[in-house]
Symmetry: C2
Subunit: 158 residues, 2 copies
């Protein structure tokens, strides 16, 4: 790793990881082994987010979901992750990329079924109007004047 | 590498590289050793582009430039690249990230001064109104009804 980096460059190891999720309590355990280093934020980027994300053995990247208005991209750096979509599963290893176009109604998540950490880069743009859909659970993410909030599919709060 | 990947996953090795640039002729030689595999396009992403870019020894990523409205992010996967900005140079090695926020008037480029290829991921969002500025040469990139075109700083064509 380069030493003494100065902005606009950073050593990702210097970016504090954010662990877990802001899901309602009953959905938190599945992603408790997830941590994200928000590289894009650390670099002052606004138009899209870039996270260096680590998934511990047994953990998932997220509940299976898709985005109404935001594109999502991932690139596996180390370890192995199982990508789950409607059509089934496939194994992603280091050097593989995947992409989830805005509005494509096919939920995805990544699960670490190995005994070592998996690390990937994830990129998503930022659209105020974006909604996230969760096909497997009674969860919606909506936009309110107070920000993005989770609720049940009928709109009632958790 | 995973075998038999299906969309939404891809093996980047299956994406055709696009070599060189669409710069005016006198600026092409410096980036002749650059090739880009357009992963985001291959995955059907529209809101931002993601390229897996290879810079051969002696070549540069681009003329030094900055963007008026688009953020740019890079992550070095292998090899070494020198990042050049107004304040000077620093060496970027595998695992280092860098970011160039929209509107920050500090041109950047990456130069491969080693004897082996350097490979990085680059991400940029897409804003119709974006302009690119080139502090070191008599070049502007502007938007016209016909698309993005290069011209001299006084607006005359090459």
């Amino acid at each position: 790793m380069s030493k003494n980096l100065k902005l606009p460059a950073i050593d990702p190891a210097t970016v504090e990881p954010v662990r877990g999720s802001n899901y309602p309590a009953q959905f938190k355990p599945g992603v408790a082994g997830r941590s994200k280093q928000r590289l894009g934020d650390a670099l002052g980027l606004k138009n899209f987010g870039v996270n260096l994300t680590t998934i511990k053995p047994g953990a998932a990247s997220a509940l299976r979901h898709w985005h109404s208005h935001e594109d999502e991209f991932i690139y596996i750096l180390s370890g192995e992750l199982v990508l789950v979509i409607d059509a089934g599963e496939q194994l992603l290893t280091a050097g593989v990329a995947a992409g989830f176009p805005a509005g494509k109604a096919d939920g995805h998540c990544l699960i670490n079924r190995t005994t070592r950490d998996a690390v990937y880069l994830e990129v998503g743009d930022r659209k105020d109007e974006d909604k996230a859909r969760y096909p497997d659970v009674d969860l919606d993410r909506r936009n309110t004047p107070a920000g993005r909030t989770f609720c049940r599919k009928d709109g009632t709060p958790y």
